[in-house]
Every structure is written in C-alpha cells, then in structure tokens.
C-alpha cells in the first residue's frame, strides 16, 4: 500500500513524492495492463496514458485512501481505450518461450494456448474484469467501486467471460457461478492482491 503521506505530498505538488509514487505503482499497473491487452507495446502505451492522466488529476483526488483503486481505474480505462484504438491496426501476437516438451507439458501448453486464444476473443471490458478479479485479486464489490459500475454489471461481465473461457474447454459454467447478485462463487479472490509497494 502506498503511504498516505506520500500520496498527499504528491497531491500537493512535491516532485520527489510523485516520483516515488510512480516507482511504487508502475509495476502492478503495467502487469495488469499487459494481462488485459496481452501485448506489451499496447500495455506500455496504456500505462503512459494512465500516468499522464494521473499527473493531471492527482491534485483533484479527494480521498488519498482511494488512490490505489483510482490508479487501477485509470489504467483499466486507458487499456480499454488502447484496445479500441488498436483494433484497427494489425495485431502482432507475442509468443511466449516454450517450456521443455514432455507429454504432460505438451498438454499443459495446449491448454494454456487454448485459454490464451479464448481470452483474446473476450471484449476488453470483460478481460478487465477477469484480470482485476483473478490476477489483481479484487472482489466484485471492489471492482464495481474501482470501475464505477454497478455490482451486478461486474457480476454479469464475469459470468459471460467465464462462460466463454470455459466453453473453449467444453466446460459448462457451474450453477450460480459469476452471478454476483445471488452470491458469487468468485466472491473470494483467487490470488492474493498485489498492492503497490
């Protein structure tokens, strides 16, 4: 968690504090942006856009306690804009280095590749919700507050995203999964949330 005092100093225009803030949040924001966009150049552009906006709007941030959620909101919005912009451009898919090939590893690689392909077919809004929930570790309520959308909307996006991803493996969605309004099976984050240092 970024110290409140550091945020307040940066909000007041302290250049050193702002630089520390950039160092503290650049990594988690970039890693989240990459996972939404699945492309490093676009993720870098999105993060730069997010920081540009952060610089402009930081003095207007009313509650330093909400800095982290606000920073994620900026980067998700920038990623969404970036995805829509790059839609018209040719896509370059980044290849990950292949692991040693054993029978088990081959099955694992095939499954990961299938998941990668299925993930790329999701809309960027849906990808963002999946990343915030399963990678950043936000609860549905936290995502709703971060993105400023209704709780039910987040649940709906997660529901359809998971349904699409599971369909790539011929899996049905378990009864009630992702239906946030009825108590989601995904309410508990799958991964401990990585907070900015």
């Amino acid at each position: 968690m970024v110290e409140r005092a550091r945020i307040e100093l940066a909000m007041a225009g302290d250049a050193g504090a702002y630089e520390e803030l950039v160092r503290a949040v650049a990594r988690p924001l970039y890693l989240a942006a990459y996972r939404i966009l699945r492309e490093s150049g676009a993720a870098e552009d999105a993060v730069q856009q997010a920081f540009l906006r952060m610089w402009r709007e930081l003095p207007r941030l009313r509650d330093p306690e909400r800095f982290e959620a606000w920073a994620y909101r900026l980067v998700v919005r920038a990623a969404i804009d970036e995805a829509r912009r790059s839609k018209r451009q040719a896509r370059v898919r980044e290849l990950q280095p292949a692991a040693a090939s054993t029978p088990d590893a081959s099955a694992e690689i095939a499954a990961r590749d299938a998941l990668d392909q299925a993930f790329r077919t999701l809309s960027v809004d849906h990808r963002a919700v999946v990343v915030l929930h399963y990678y950043v570790g936000m609860s549905i309520a936290e995502i709703a507050a971060t993105l400023e959308v209704p709780y039910g909307t987040v649940g709906s996006r997660l529901h359809y995203a998971l349904r699409s991803l599971r369909a790539a493996f011929g899996l049905e969605l378990p009864q009630g999964a992702g239906a946030a309004d009825t108590g989601s099976a995904h309410e508990r984050p799958m991964r401990r949330r990585e907070r900015p240092a």
Binding site: G13, Q48, R62, D125, V130, Y135, P150, F169, H186
Partner: protein, 473 residues
C-alpha cells in the same frame, strides 16, 4: 486436449505466470522522466488559507549572507507582501455574501466551500479550514439552510448551516449506529419541507445466506432532532433525489430505477411501498458496460420532470444497432442484436412516468446525450457529445443543448462544456463548467444577455444554486 480440473485455479495461474513479471526498464525510465519533467500542478490556494509562502513559492532568492541594506530591502519587500496579503484576506473575509437576484451558487474546491459572486465575477472562499474537508453543499428548498458534507480525520458528518454574513453551523448529523457516512464529496438531499435529509451511508446487508459489508444504503435524518435511521429498502441504493413537489424520492439501485412515496420514508416498512419504474435487462451481452456508469453514479441522482410526474435517466446502447425498446411494464428490452465489443456507445436520455407507464426516449440520436437538468419551468438542458464512449464524453465534455419547456426545436447554447449544467432557481440562467474546469459560464438560454465567465479554483465541483429566499417569510 483435456479440460483443467480446477478451471478457476488454472485461470488464475495462467494470468499470474503468462506474461512479464516486471515493468520494462525503458518504460519505467520514461515514466520517471515524465515525472521529473512534470510534477503535478500545485493545489490552488489563497494566502488567506493560512499557508505560508515558501521561498520557492514566491521566487525570491534570499541571500544567506550579504550586506545589511540588502537584507533590509528583502525584509521590506516581504513585509509589503504580507501587508497586501492581509488586506486581500481581510477584504475577502469582510465581503458580504451577496445573494444576487438569482441566488448564491456554492461549490466545493480543495476541501473548502466557495461561493460565486456573479456580480463581481469571482469566486470567494466560504470556509478556510485546514483540518477538515468540507464538500457536497446542498441548499434546502427554502434557500435558508445549507447542508455540507464534512470529513475530519476520515470521519464524516453532515453539518447544517445558515448562510448570513458568515456561515453559522447549527446542527451536525452523525451516522446512525451500525452505519457509516462515507468520507468526502457526498451530497445529502433535503425534503422540500426541510424536515428530512436523506444521505448515502454504508452498512451491511443480508441477502439470503450472504451478508455483504460496505453496501451503499440510504439513511434519513430528522433535521429538528438530529436523529438518523436507516431507510430500509431491502436493496442497495446508488443515488437518489426528491421530486420538485416533494412527494417522491427517486432511487437508483443496481440496474433498476424506483420511486418511493416521501410519506413512506418514516413508515415501518418502506420497501413495501417501493415502485419499480424501469430495469435494464443484462441477459446476453452486457449493455451497461461503459466504465463511467450512467445514472448509477453517485453524483447523478435521478432527475424528475418539473411536474414531478416522470423521471429521466440514461441508457447506454450501441450506436446504430440494437436499439432499446420498452416492454409493457416499463422495463427495457433489446429489440435487436447488440454487440458491445468495440462499438461506440450511444447514451440517450429516457423518460418514464412514475405511474410506471412505458418508458420513451426523450433525447435520442446517435450521439451521447448526457446529464439532463430540468428547469423549474420544465426546460431540459443536456450535454451532447460525439465521443466514442460515454466515459470519454464525460471526460471531454460536449455541447450544451436546451429543449424549450414550451416545445419546439432544441437549441445549442454552448460548446466545450464539462459534466453538465445547473439551472438557476428561476430558470433564467444556466451555469456550466468549461471543459478545462477552470471557469463557470453563466448563460442566458434566451440569448438576451451575454454569457459571463467566472474563474474557478482548481478542482471546483458539486455546484448548488440557492433557491430564491422569499422576503418576509
């Protein structure tokens, strides 16, 4: 290919492991270089707020040592500066809060409340506190009292104040037991008779076997006793507002819009009297997928028509396809296929009768139409933007249009307007933030008077226009 046994774990693991684990050095260097070039702009502040001016702040290179006469000159300059500052402070503080014919505008900026003096063409601070954050001003309907959201060390309360030559705080309203008033920038709603205030609170809510904490709820307060209670609607409430006649409280909850008779606020089971006006079905593709939200935003309460018989709200659709149609019960259903992946959003303003009749587009078209504001006479002001998304439209601003109350073609009254507009109590003037949020424009929709522009401090928000105080009452 076999399916993973634990799909959720597989998905979480894939997200964690596939892709970089560190930020690229070149990106970090670029960001740091940007940061060094451009630290955030300093908060706008007047010397009257008691902040000392640093040497860097006033650009003086004070000599560490030097001839005595130079030191005296510098000290004399400083003394002159202090004297001028004191004069400015004194004049600002002595300035009576002049209520112009159309009432005083109050807004928040940098943790204080400010007023706009349209005659003098300037904004002046109404509070100047360093340990509390005042925001969310809301005038009572009679224009005599001002509610403000005060946050001190993270604890929020609502102060009720009377605005005379100074702001005199009368009563403070605090969160009822088991509930929390969320800190910063919330806005309370006055009932028209001034007896009741409704305000957003956070608390726990049980839905079947699931208990959720931090749920957005509503509390009501008796302004004469200060007593507060949960308005138990059996559901979260995202935003709310009273109708002009005071008979109804409009409530946005999730994807549904309700009205509650104001008489039910203090009744034993208010949820039983909730009337659902509209809902947006989210089966299939998610039609509400714009990150900015729409009428669910805290600062966009349901807007009533001037006659209090209908509520205006926003719907998001995709431009040119999958237009929304109404069902008999006032609900909304897509009439065609709707893909939301990368299509531009088309936000329209919709009107639904409180008698739960069918909803209908009030302002449609392929642009984003946002931020409806209704004058006392029924004229509708709204923002129109051709930005690709609703969130971009909210950020980048748009053109301000007015539909006359008497009917006829809408007219464009301004360009480059941010966030929406604010009618004066008589409907003679329209206030609008410029898109750089640096000025408040006062516009005469009839075109008889020239626009006035008033510079604003940074971060100005939450404008409220004082209702006309009737003399002799």
């Amino acid at each position: 290919m076999s399916a993973p046994r634990d799909f959720d774990r597989f998905l979480a693991g894939w997200l964690a492991e596939e892709g970089p684990q560190e930020v690229p050095d070149r990106l970090l260097e670029t960001l740091l270089a940007d940061a060094r070039r451009s630290a955030p702009p300093r908060r706008w502040a007047l010397p009257v707020r008691g902040r000392s001016l640093s040497r860097e702040g006033i650009g003086l290179a004070l000599p560490a040592t030097g001839p005595a006469w130079r030191t005296w000159i510098v000290l004399a300059l400083l003394a002159a500066l202090v004297a001028v500052s004191a004069l400015v402070a004194g004049s600002l503080r002595r300035d009576p809060l002049r209520a112009v014919a159309d009432g005083t505008i109050v807004f928040e900026a940098a943790g204080d409340l400010w007023t706009v003096d349209p005659v003098a063409g300037r904004a002046t601070p109404l509070t100047s506190t360093s340990d509390t954050d005042e925001g969310g001003p809301a005038w009572s309907r009679d224009g005599r009292s001002l509610a403000m959201w005060v946050t001190q060390r993270g604890i929020a309360r609502i102060d009720l104040a009377v605005l005379g030559p100074r702001l005199e705080v009368g009563r403070s309203l605090r969160a009822p037991a088991g509930l929390v008033l969320p800190p910063h920038r919330r806005i309370a709603g006055w009932s028209p008779d001034g007896r009741t205030i409704v305000a957003p609170v956070r608390g726990t809510m049980t839905d079947g076997a699931v208990t959720r904490a931090g749920v957005e709820l509503v509390a009501w307060f008796d302004t004469s006793t200060g007593e507060g209670r949960l308005l138990d609607l059996g559901r979260p409430a995202w935003s709310f507002g009273f109708s002009p006649d005071g008979a109804w409280l409009g409530i946005a909850s999730g994807s549904e819009l309700f009205v509650l008779p104001a008489s039910a606020i203090r009744a034993p089971d208010p949820a039983a009297q909730l009337r659902r006006l509209a809902s947006i079905e989210t089966t299939g593709d998610d039609i509400n997928s714009d990150p900015s939200g729409a009428w669910w935003r805290d600062d966009l309460p349901p807007v009533f028509s001037a006659d209090s018989r209908a509520v205006l709200y926003l719907v998001n659709g995709a431009a040119g396809e999958g237009d929304l149609a109404t069902t008999g019960g006032g609900g909304l259903r897509r009439s065609g296929p709707l893909r939301t992946d990368d299509r531009p959003r088309d936000t329209d303003i919709r009107r639904v009768s409180i008698d739960a009749g069918p909803a209908a587009d009030l302002v449609g078209g392929s642009d984003n139409d946002l931020a409806p504001a209704v004058s006392v006479a029924g004229a509708l002001a709204y923002l129109r933007s051709d930005a690709r998304t609703t969130s971009a439209a909210m950020d980048q601003g748009g053109d301000l249009w007015v539909s006359p109350a008497a009917g006829g073609e809408p007219v464009q009254v301004a360009t480059g307007v941010a966030a929406g507009s604010l009618w004066s109590p008589t409907g003679a003037w329209l206030g609008a933030l410029t898109v750089d949020r640096a000025s408040l424009m006062l516009l005469d929709p009839s075109g008889r008077h020239s626009p006035r522009s008033i510079p604003l401090p940074q971060g100005a928000a939450s404008f409220t226009w004082q209702p006309v105080v009737e003399s002799g009452t």
